[in-house]
Structure formats: C-alpha cells, structure tokens
C-alpha cells in the first residue's frame, strides 16, 4: 500500500510544485505575490475544455493552444496591465488586487461559462499498473514524468540560457542587474510568462483529477502557496521540495490517520517551519 501512496503523493505534489515554482519566480523577480495563482490554473483548464470539447480541436492542439493563449493572457496581458500599474506601489496593493481578480474570474466563469464540473481526458489512458504487488495509476506516473520534464526544462532554461541568467541576476539583486544593463521589466515579463506556462501545464495534469470547474484553482492555489512557504519562497528547488512534501503529507494522512486531518497536518508542518525556519526548508534569509 505504501508504494502506491508514495506515487500518488508525488503525483499530486508535482502539480503543487509546478504552481509553487510560479509563486517563487514571481516573488524573486518582482517581489509580488499573486493571490490569483489558483485562478491562473483554472483559466487554462477552461481554455482546454473550450478548444477540445466545444471547438473540437485535436487533443494535443487543444492543450498547446490553451498553453500559448494562457502564456499571452496571464503573461503579457497581466504584466502590461495589473503588474505595470501596481509594481511601484509595493506588494500589498497587488495582493489585494489579485484576491479581487480571483473572485472576478470565479464569478465570470460561473455566469458566462458554467457552474458545473466538467470532465477532461488525461494525456494517457487511466489504467492500473501492477508492480511488485502494488497498484499504480498510469496517470500518476505520467503526471510525475511530465512535471519532472517541465521543471527540469524551466531549471535548465533559468541556469543555462542568457535570458535565464538575466532573470537570476534580477532575482538576486535587481538594482545591480539594472546597472549592468539588464532590462528588469523584460525579466518580470519573462517570469510571468514562465509562470503562465507552468500553471497551464499543471492545469492539463490536474484537470482529469480535479475536474474542470470555476473553483478548481482554490485548493490548488492554496496548497501551492503552503508548498512555497514550506520549501522557501525565494528558491525554486525549495518550491519543488515543498510541493512534493505537501502532496505526500496529504496522501499519507488521508490513508493512515483521517481525511479530516489532511489539510490540518499540512498546516501543522507549515507552522513548524515558520517557527523554526521562517525562510523555508531550502530558502535563504532576505534582507
């Protein structure tokens, strides 16, 4: 039983981790926390349903189009509107605005799309896989694989590519990076675009489990936020660790203790981390 629980925990954790990494990237480059991150998952999920179920695009094209459109909407449009308008005023106005944006997105989808949950097919056929006496879901293994590829891809891009290095420079010291000729605004746009791609991928992985619904992002956004705090808000690898931990804690608590306590245990870990290592497990202290 433990093997399948670990796989399931890692599968859920991988989804949380992708969203948590988005939180970290935005914080590192712009010092902003996006409280509509959950709705940023909901939007591409609805776009996927629109392209696949309503407009009958082929499945891969529907996902690709949704990811591209999400990158445009949640990356470029978001940067040029709310971020540009609010970045100079600090984090608090942005937090309040994104909380309002989250409400708006949920209400908009309820009224103009549907309040009902919609199913969305997974990228692989959901079949039980038997190995060493345990049963694994093909979907869970696929989720872990896709999340690993996306996270490694983003990490390699940030570490090895020129724009990625510029992004790191802005994250480490924005003023110094600007003096060195790096366009900080472009880097913030890049961070929002990477975040949009990450949430769009997590939407594709989460939709078959969570079903596509106007409030599907509530739980995902909240868990990813916990993950980012537990792992370290200023470290991508911290967000990855935090995401996997949250997924594992939830799944193991539901199996061995009680469903009712699974969120409570995550919050307990969060409190312990804040008390003893406020910067997060892998985070670094900020000035």
């Amino acid at each position: 039983m433990i093997e399948q629980l670990l796989i399931k925990g890692l599968s859920l954790g991988a989804i949380y981790a992708m969203i948590a990494i988005g939180f970290c990237l935005l914080w590192q480059t712009s010092r902003l926390v996006n409280f509509a991150e959950g709705e940023f998952v909901t939007i591409p999920a609805f776009l996927m349903v629109l392209f696949y179920s309503v407009l009958h695009f082929p499945y891969p094209l529907a996902i690709l189009t949704a990811i591209l459109l999400a990158a445009l909407l949640l990356g470029l449009v978001m940067k040029k509107t709310l971020v540009d308008a609010l970045i100079t005023r600090g984090n608090t106005p942005f937090v309040v605005t994104t909380i309002a944006l989250g409400f708006f997105v949920r209400d908009f989808l309820t009224v103009f799309a549907t309040p009902e949950a919609m199913s969305f097919p997974s990228m692989v056929r959901q079949t039980p896989l038997h190995f060493a006496g345990a049963v694994f879901s093909s979907l869970d293994l696929w989720n872990i694989l896709i999340a690993a590829v996306v996270i490694i891809g983003v990490s390699v891009f940030i570490r090895k590519s020129k724009p990625g290095k510029a992004l790191q420079a802005v994250a480490q010291n924005r003023e110094a990076a600007v003096i060195m000729g790096i366009d900080a605004q472009k880097m913030i746009l890049l961070a929002f675009s990477i975040n949009a791609v990450l949430v769009a991928f997590s939407a594709a992985l989460a939709a078959p489990i969570y079903m596509v619904k106007y409030d599907m992002g509530n739980e995902l956004g909240l868990k990813a936020f916990y993950a980012a705090i537990i792992g370290g808000f200023n470290q991508v690898r911290g967000a990855l660790l935090g995401g996997l931990l949250v997924g594992l804690i939830e799944t193991l608590t539901a199996a061995y203790i009680s469903t009712q306590y699974k969120s409570g245990f995550v919050l307990l870990v969060l409190i312990v981390v804040i008390l003893f290592k406020p910067e997060g497990l892998l985070g670094t202290e900020e000035q």
Partner: protein, 395 residues
C-alpha cells in the same frame, strides 16, 4: 391655479386607484411560487435541474389553464449552497408572500431555513433527503415536504437488497462529511450491523475533495466484498475513475444510493461508472418517468436527474392539492398533504402514486439501477414500504 388644484388631486387619486386595482387584479390572476435554490457553489448543477423541473411543470400547468384558473408565477433566489445565504434568501422570499416555496436541495440549508417557513406558515417542498427534516417538522403539522424518499426510508430498501440479493458480509463505507452523508451512514449502519454485516472501513470525505487515493488504499486493504459510496454527484464523479484505477471494481461490488447513479455523476465518471449498481428514488429509465425524460432530453439534450423529477412532481402535487381543496389556503394545503395518498390515475402529472405521512416524508415505488455503457439500466422495481397506503390507487 386654485381651480386646477382639485383637478390635479383627483387625477392623481385616479391614477393611484387605477394602479392599485390593476395590480390587485393581476395579483388575483396568479399564484406566486418562490424557488430558493442552489444556483451557485457546489450545488449549482443539481440546483439547475431543480429549476428546470419547476419551469417545465409551470409551463405545462399554465398551458393547461393554471391552478384553479390562476397562472403560476415563479421567482428564483440563490442560496449559493451556503446555509447562511439560504437563510437570507428565504427571508427575502417570505417578504414576497409566496404560496409555496420550492427548495433548497442541500440538507444543511434546508434545516437552516425550515424554521423561517414554519413561522411564516408557508409550505415548502425540498430536495433534501435527510430524515432530520421530517424529525424537525412540527408534530402533526408538517410544513416542509420532501420531494423523494428520505434516506432512512430508502436505506430500508437498500439494506434489504444488500443482505438478500448482494449477500454482502463486509462493507467498506465512504461518505461525504455533511448532512447527506451522515444521515445515510447512520441509517445504513443501524440497519445492517444487527444483521451481522461488518463495516470494515468507515471513511468520511470532504465536500469538493478531488484525490481519494489515501482513502481508497485503506479500502483496498480492508478485505471488503462491497464498496458503498454515499457522496454528492461531483465527488462521486471524481471518485469512480480512481476506484477503477486502483482496481477496486474488480475486487468488490461498487454500489450506492441516488447520487452515485445520477446523470451528473455519469457525465464526470464516464466509463468508470460502468458496472456500478444502486438504488434510486427516481430514474429517467423507469417506465412512468420516461415520457417526461424524453421531453427533457428534447429540450436540454441530456437526461434529467432525480432533482428534476423531485421539483417537477412537487409542482404537480401543488396543483393536485389545491384543486382538491378548491382554495389556496396554506393551512388547508398542509392538512390535505398529511397522511394522504395521491394517485396518478387522478393526477397524471404526479407520474407515480405517492403517499405523504404525518411528518412530511413520502413513500412510493423506487428502482434498482445498473450502469451499462455510461447509462442507467433498470435492474428492478422496489415496492413502497407501506403497500397498504396505495390500495386506493389500484381500485
């Protein structure tokens, strides 16, 4: 100027009188029914079916001349699937002095508002199947009437089916941690444990929960021969694919009551619902309900669920009771519904013979359903719990 003043006053009085008389006349021509229902939140999907039931029945009744010559006029208020919002919506509905209130569906909201309606003396039909609704009705003067068998009564039929037909000995129970799930769990355990049936797991789940691997892993290791699921439609629709992923459907019988087998659950679970069996109070594949299902299908391109039928039939029942009373007296309405049987032969809109007891609970036939190719298939008809109540309908 002074000469013109009395003329102006007279004209104003005439206009006010005209409005008052005209408004009063319009008021006299209609009967107002408030629909206080889940239009948003987790109950939005089932609330939408309930509204369609009210609207379809209203249209048909109005087209046939209304109730005692009065057209049905409905207005809808949203509970947002939250009990405090339901209370506020119900207060607003009561201000408009409706003859009857239709809704809510969720048991928590229903129990929260029924006191308001009792104080206002307005009868209501609800989608809730909680036995606590009947228990909280004022003895011998129910104000709240259920649209379907309450869970305690349904579970009497389910328990008999589980022990006599499925011959289950070890049950894994998974239920939603709210009024719906709790009442079903309590009723089932109370009926089955004395018969030697063992509940090897007993797991509560959260409303809106998406991943059930931890819970299902416990069930898989429990040695159960039957998995009984009693959760809302959305959670049931998410659970069934995970049941299949872990191979539980090969290991044990997967059964449930009402919500596990509705159209909403099937739409979400798709082929993972195949093979599931259970008891339903109202089904579109039941012969008496099929003609209305066909009309619904033509209008909405989907099959109706039990919540549609609950409101549709309740609207027809309003017409039946008022016409028997020959008045819109709310006290007489309540009295007439108490300990009474209503037969389809007299009121075809009821679709099935129905009996209401002194608590506002009903009894009638119900159905055993199996899911094949993502569709409900009739597996059996279960007689009412009190067959003697329906003797008059056979004459």
């Amino acid at each position: 100027m002074r000469r013109l003043l009395p003329v102006g006053v007279l004209a104003a009085v005439a206009i006010i009188l005209f409005w008052a008389v005209n408004g009063f006349a319009q008021q006299q021509d209609k009967v107002t029914i408030a629909v206080v229902i889940e239009q948003s939140g987790p109950g939005a999907a089932v609330g939408a079916r309930w509204i369609r039931g009210v609207q379809m029945a209203s249209d048909e009744i109005n087209a046939a001349g209304g109730i005692l010559g009065k057209k049905i006029d409905t207005f809808i208020l949203d509970t947002k699937t939250e009990a405090p919002v339901a209370v506020a919506a119900m207060r607003k509905a009561i201000e408009n002095k409706p003859f009857v209130v239709m809704g809510p569906i969720f048991s928590g909201s229903t129990i929260a508002v029924m006191g308001l309606l009792r104080d206002a003396g307005i009868p209501e039909f609800v989608g809730s199947e909680s036995p606590n609704v009947g228990k909280q009705n004022i003895a011998n003067n129910p104000n709240t009437f259920l649209g379907s068998l309450n869970v305690e009564l349904s579970m009497q039929k389910v328990a008999k089916w589980i022990t006599e037909v499925l011959k289950s000995k070890k049950i894994a129970l998974i239920w939603s941690n709210d009024e719906l799930g709790k009442s079903g769990r309590e009723a089932l355990k109370k009926l089955l444990e004395p018969q030697g049936v063992q509940f090897v797991t007993d797991i509560a789940t959260e409303l809106g929960q998406s991943s059930f691997t931890g819970e299902l892993s416990r069930i898989k290791a429990s040695g159960a021969d039957t998995l009984f699921i009693y959760m809302h439609e959305e959670e049931s629709g998410k659970l069934l694919p995970q049941v299949r992923e872990l191979g539980l459907d090969k290991q044990m019988k997967v059964v449930g009551h009402d919500t596990l087998l509705t159209e909403d659950t099937l739409r979400l679970a798709k082929d993972a619902a195949n093979g599931v069996m259970g008891h339903v109070g109202l089904s579109p594949v039941a012969a008496p309900l099929k003609p209305v299902a066909d009309k619904y299908l033509a209008k909405y391109q989907e099959l109706p669920d039990h919540n549609f039928y609950k409101s549709y039939i309740s609207m027809s029942l309003i017409k039946a009771v008022v016409e028997q009373n020959k008045s819109f007296d709310q006290q007489k309405f309540r009295e007439k519904l108490k300990n009474s049987t209503f037969c389809v032969k007299n009121y075809p809109g009821l679709l099935m013979d129905v009996h209401y007891d002194e608590k506002g609970d009903l009894d009638r036939e119900s159905f055993l359903i199996k899911i094949e190719n993502q569709k409900q298939v009739m597996a059996g008809i279960l007689a009412p719990l009190h067959a003697d109540w329906f003797e008059s309908c056979k004459k």
